[in-house]
Symmetry: C2
């Protein structure tokens, strides 16, 4: 039962104006007399006319659609990112075409299909692309931006938090707090976030002639992190502090430590997370966590993708958004080095060498 | 710097096939010889050709895009819904255009714009539409489906969980557990979910000649729920059980009860939530919660919107997906009436009169 849509020329006829006036009435920012606009709007309402963004996109060669890939929405960080991205892109006149590839893989299979929509750009959150597809997008003039990831072996622009510096600060914080048996709980090992956080953490320890951390893999997954926590905590040389690759895994570790091993946090075990998501602030967890500042990261991503769309020849850029190690109750607090910043306590050792 | 896209006829020429063969090669399910398809794909790769879904949508009058509105992604339930919806729609060949109106308001302002994309259908999660816009969509032949909401005063199809029955079962469960001072923490009062859960809860109490519950409003918001919990728990006639309109608010109440009032759960205070989201299963909360079964609800929504697109004249339907009250440790457990169902304990009183 296809229905016939009223056309712009139907509206022009009824309103007694030119077709170009109809077009201007529906183009944000176009110049048109108020009275003319009102007549067009009345006629459009009467006929059920709606400007056809799809047809317009064929003329302008701009779809005003940004494809956004986000895997792994069970982690609190990404829904908050999606909501902020949707609002930020909308404010710039873009719509967000969502797709959800599997976490831990590149997004190529779904991207191939998304590209047939002639999206104006792609933002990939918590996933990445193969270098083949990145080249294909470049050849087609479609800007690609990685959010909270960088990509090995390809030259794709990105917006990330301070993963390397965050890892270094956490090592310094835990050592200053008197911990001696450190562990790192990795996320998805192929992801740049996990790699960079670990490089920072283990690198700082090595530089300071300290033993490398114990290590388990939690795949950024709640159940996998629980299993990894059981392995770490059952060791005879149980760690006294665990840096978890993100908050989502840190909460899993806290649950296992308390409810299966009867450990008190931080007296028996210190935990530090990464992301500073909402549950980190719940008193039950009170998680010390490196804050990836979500709104500045999203603002940077929206600004960057818009610039890339305006100027597809612009060089690749990697924006790193400054964050802080927010100190709460889940890890022993060093006697000095923490300062109050607004209503938060943050780790700012006298000589920040990170 | 506009770039020229290769066309289907460029590909046909290079591959030495007809344009219709090119079209068939890119139409899922179309009949084409394997060797012909391979030649088309090689030529397409060489030329950087990509079938243009936008142009195709003008011909077929099908955009294969479903607009999805979801407010309120900080509640764990909705990100899980989005991920499942994205996968479910994708499996049917649809893409998901996401928009994020404000929670607690109807989605009209953003919908007006989304409609210009000639979406094939609209799914509204955690939000609703005005009756004016619902009529407009009906006139334009665009199916609208409410997910986890129903709409007052309009006749819009919906998929919901058993809000009314859930509220009734929770009242029965808490009374059977020996609680005598019950309270209800409402969500957004204008939402059908909050209204129906409250009607079921308070209605069962009235039917059994029990006093109506105390009542506060938490707006489905974490901070507002914390404030409401403080008001409830500071009363001289403090409730001994609170039915929270969703898990997100139940967690807020648990945090305030434990960490600000020193209450033990469930010894001093029983809590029941709604949704059965992931944090309900974390041992720190171990929340008794009415399970809205997410995947069956999403499956029902995907099937229904597809039927509505195929047959826009189909009558309005309201699908209610069956759920269970999952019993964990956050509320005193009645001496009888719970049964094991797989690895879960659920409330199944001998004579289920709910």
């Amino acid at each position: 039962m296809p229905h016939r849509h009223a056309t712009a020329s139907d509206v022009a006829r009824l309103a007694g104006v030119s077709q170009s006036a109809v077009s201007r009435a529906f183009t944000p920012g176009a110049s048109i007399a108020r009275e003319t606009r009102a007549r067009v709007e009345d006629a459009a309402r009467e006929l059920g006319y709606r400007p056809n963004a799809i047809a317009r996109s064929l003329t302008t060669r701009r779809s005003r659609i940004i494809g956004v890939a986000a895997a792994y929405l069970q982690n609190h960080f990404y829904p908050e990112v999606m909501e902020a991205l949707s609002r930020g892109l909308h404010a710039r006149g873009y719509h967000l075409l969502l797709f959800t590839p599997d976490a831990g893989r590149d997004a190529d299979p779904q991207l191939q299909e998304v590209l047939s929509w002639r999206v104006d750009g792609l933002i990939l959150a918590s996933t990445t692309v193969s270098s083949a597809l990145a080249s294909e997008c470049r050849a087609a003039g479609i800007p690609v931006l990685l959010f909270n990831r960088t990509s090995l072996g390809t030259d794709v622009s990105s917006v990330t938090g301070e993963n390397l510096r965050g890892g270094r600060l956490i090592a310094e914080f835990l050592v200053a707090g008197g911990h001696r048996r450190l562990a790192f709980l990795a996320g998805i090992e192929a992801s740049s976030t996990s790699r960079d956080r670990e490089r920072g953490f283990a690198g700082w320890l090595v530089e300071h002639d300290l033993p490398p951390p114990l290590r388990e893999v939690g795949l950024y997954d709640f159940d996998a992190a629980c299993a990894a926590a059981r392995r770490l905590l059952a060791r005879p040389d149980r760690p006294d502090a665990i840096f978890c690759g993100n908050d989502h895994m840190a909460i899993a570790v806290a649950e296992v430590a308390r409810h299966e091993f009867g450990l008190r946090i931080p007296r028996d075990l210190s935990l530090v997370g990464f992301d500073d998501t909402a549950p980190a602030r719940w008193p039950s967890f009170s998680l010390t966590s490196f804050a990836q500042p979500l709104q500045p990261m999203v603002d940077a991503a929206v600004a960057l993708i818009c610039e890339m769309i305006e100027n597809p020849a612009a060089p690749t850029r990697h924006e790193v958004v400054h964050g802080e190690l927010v100190v709460r109750g889940s890890a022993r607090i060093p006697p000095e080095g923490c300062v109050s910043l607004g209503d938060r306590l943050v780790w700012r050792p006298p000589r920040d060498e990170a």
